[in-house]
Symmetry: C2
Subunit: 463 residues, 2 copies
């Protein structure tokens, strides 16, 4: 009989120790197929443990198919157990360095938003109220296309604020724009999809298109001339992804004439336009620029919006308005289960229904405007004459070009002082860091910090 | 001069009415390119509104590119505005019927869980504490691969409960298993991917593979003989998706000998196995069955787990343990932004850290065990002799075959009485409803309801 060491003081239950022991011995080939296990009675006596304990271990081995029982005769090791080679690899303990973000003391990263003025108390109340409902729709998987309550609120918001007429049935919710883009690709039948992407443009969506096997054609966008509609027309594409209200990252607004040209192109070539309206809420002169979707009378525009900039990234809620033709394709098979949390969807619907969202937007527009102005004046004060600023009076970022300096060196010099400064090179297809503007995200910084940080940056760069 | 009607009592601000009016007229071609707009002063006098208001409207039209200004001369309609055809479609008001779920008074739908015993108060506390932290990691986008705190908790849990040795760096979090599968496909280079799927098996994941363009080979699974390993070996596949701990939907456990054969197959053919361990927490006799990943010494198993069954579907948190080789491929480009909410991830980490999760699992195992037993005894009492029950003593569902009756008719008869009964046909590739077992989900039903509902169902079916 094999020796089996049971430690009665060990934290692992005794039945588990017994089970582990037998399993290991069988897997290593030390106890071979056809071997009869000691009877429950004899093993319990040998080890001075209860018969129940032995039985429990045997039942587990039985359930997992390591042993088989013959009625009233006992337990045998099953035939044909492949032995496991004993080459268990070391558990990887190092940090996965390709993913880990650097930590800077000062950080102009794009994507941060103002948290200081976030109405946490009101939001918590909406969250509490949602959880209180104890509703299956809220606590289980929820509607596949998204909470109907939230979709109704979004439809109302889009009508009032973005000039878009749609019903809640036209709206699909998801956890992030990339997810929406994947759904669009499915709906458009990706094998045939050639997508015109702004260059520079949002790299996240571009990666999604590429990962999904779509063809990509770069359409040049410049700060001076904007979107190159001629390039689009001769691209042969059947879909275009654009950010007309506030081009990312250049910040320009697509003028009406171009918008109408784009719509005509879509109509004539049976193409679809994905309008990503990621931050149109924040324009600091006049009202937000009207949406392209609002002009779309042939139903060729897929409108995508998000709460990541205007509310809170961590609720992970984005949405899109789909043209009728695509809605028809949207049957069960096309759509995964809903990835956005039904709890947050419901809480956000309450937040909007109670008019907190509009109030929040008004407040934040004011706050970001001040930050935007502070950034401009700080850049002027500490770097005036050395930098060119690119971007409309909108959004949560600005671009700068620094004259007579290599941008790569500037970014490195800043990093050396633990100041996070980022290139827009990843938004271009084939440009070096030195040829691309620098992006300054200011959404998450306080007024005081903006001034202080630009001052420090100027010291690093120009002293 | 065109006539423009301003309603001062209207809720729409006057500048907006003016802007809307001009925009519409230009888009309809009523005000043509090159037309000079009235001066700010004259229009303000004509309409008896302030110059600021007129100016605001003009500035918006200017920003959106409908008009252009010539210094000190005024505003002109820009050239080349395409007129919009006036064919605006009706807003779709009907329900999207392909998606809307039917509402039954009595529902045996699979996927519902017990909400009555969910520790809402404790969970709310964890949520409150998470929001309290006001941490950027929690309120913004968070770590792309998932909260490190949560991944550490999962690693500990997997070691203690599933026999899996892994570091948090091996774990990737996502909002739902489909999302994880998409990431896996990217990592495995989908052009070459032929996936062996259990038949019957989970249709959601199958759809994801198909949507992503993977080849699918069905591997037969039967309640009596389990998984057909020979079919796998001759399939030519380089990946397999399996549910070894509790086959979905049949409920069988894959025995040790087959597990080892599968691992050998993966090693010899350089294939990967995706182990979906969706509900292994709930086994009602003995401990949960050990995981396949725990036997995996060649690092060929991708282990996928979820909190949808064991905690709450609406937190939308799933995870996987990746083999080292695949982790190496997991660089920025391969991974979208994190779709699972950083807030819920953090709150769940707290919930686990404070040992609520283990307690919750223990409690729920007991509760589901009672429900499972109730379902068995009700089936026996009211339908004994008419139905065959398929499934191990585990999970939140059972399958039944009703003798000498057409399943399609039974489902229809039940629906007629507002009782939701579902076929497993969608889990098979090419089988009619009559040839497939019926699935009874019982997770969301109380003990009393289980008894009552089966009684009513028996009346509908056998009276």
């Amino acid at each position: 009989m094999v020796s089996c060491f049971i430690e009665k003081d060990k934290k692992t239950p005794i039945y588990k120790q017994l089970y582990d022991f037998y399993k290991e011995e069988m897997l290593n080939g030390n106890i071979k197929e056809g071997t009869k296990l000691p009877s429950v009675r004899s093993l319990s006596q040998t080890l001075s443990i209860s018969k129940n304990t032995v039985n429990e271990a045997y039942q587990q081995l039985l359930a997992e198919g390591f042993i088989e029982s013959r009625v009233k005769k006992g337990y045998w090791v099953v035939p044909n157990l492949e032995y496991l080679p004993d080459t268990k690899q070391e558990v990887l303990q190092e940090e996965n360095k390709t993913i880990a973000a650097k930590e800077f003391t000062i950080d102009f990263q794009y994507g941060d938003i103002d948290l200081e003025h976030f109405p946490m108390k009101t939001w918590k109340k909406c969250l509490q109220d949602s959880l209180q409902e104890n509703d299956k729709e809220i606590l289980l998987y929820g509607n596949k296309l998204g909470s109907i309550l939230l979709r109704k609120q979004i439809a109302t918001y889009l009508y009032k604020s973005r000039g878009i007429h749609c019903a809640y049935e036209d709206i699909v919710i998801s956890a992030g724009t990339n997810q929406l883009v994947r759904t669009v690709i499915s709906l458009l039948q990706k094998d045939k999809l050639a997508v015109a992407m702004e260059s520079p443009g949002y790299d996240g969506v571009k990666n999604t298109f590429l990962t999904e096997g779509c063809m990509i054609v770069d359409i040049p966008v410049t700060a001076d001339d904007g979107y190159d509609v001629q390039a689009l027309k001769s691209s042969g594409c059947n879909a275009a992804y654009i950010t007309p209200s506030h081009q990312f990252p250049l910040g320009c607004i697509m003028p009406a004439a171009k918008r109408l040209e784009l719509l005509k192109w879509a109509e004539e070539t049976n193409a679809y336009i994905i309008e990503d309206d990621y931050d149109s809420e924040f324009r600091y002169e006049g009202a937000p620029v009207a949406s392209l979707k609002g002009l779309d009378r042939q139903d060729r525009v897929i409108y995508a919006g998000t709460f990541s900039k205007s509310f809170l990234p961590s609720v992970r809620i984005s949405y899109m308005v789909l043209p009728k033709k695509l809605l028809e394709n949207l049957h069960e098979g096309f759509i995964d289960s809903q990835n956005a949390s039904p709890i947050f969807q419901h809480a956000l619907a309450l937040f909007m229904e109670r008019e907190h969202y509009e109030r929040h937007l008004r407040k934040m527009r004011k706050i970001y405007k001040e930050k935007h102005e502070m950034l401009l004046s700080s850049l002027n004060e500490y770097m005036g004459g050395f930098v060119n600023i690119i971007g409309e009076k909108a959004g949560l970022h600005l671009l700068i070009n620094v004259e007579n300096k290599q941008h790569s060196q500037l970014i490195e010099a800043a990093a050396h002082q633990s100041i996070g400064i980022y290139s827009t090179a990843s938004y271009y297809s084939n440009k070096s860091v030195d040829d691309c503007p620098i992006i300054l995200g200011f959404g998450g910084l306080t007024l005081h910090k903006i001034d202080e940080y630009i001052k420090q940056l100027a010291k690093v760069w120009f002293n």
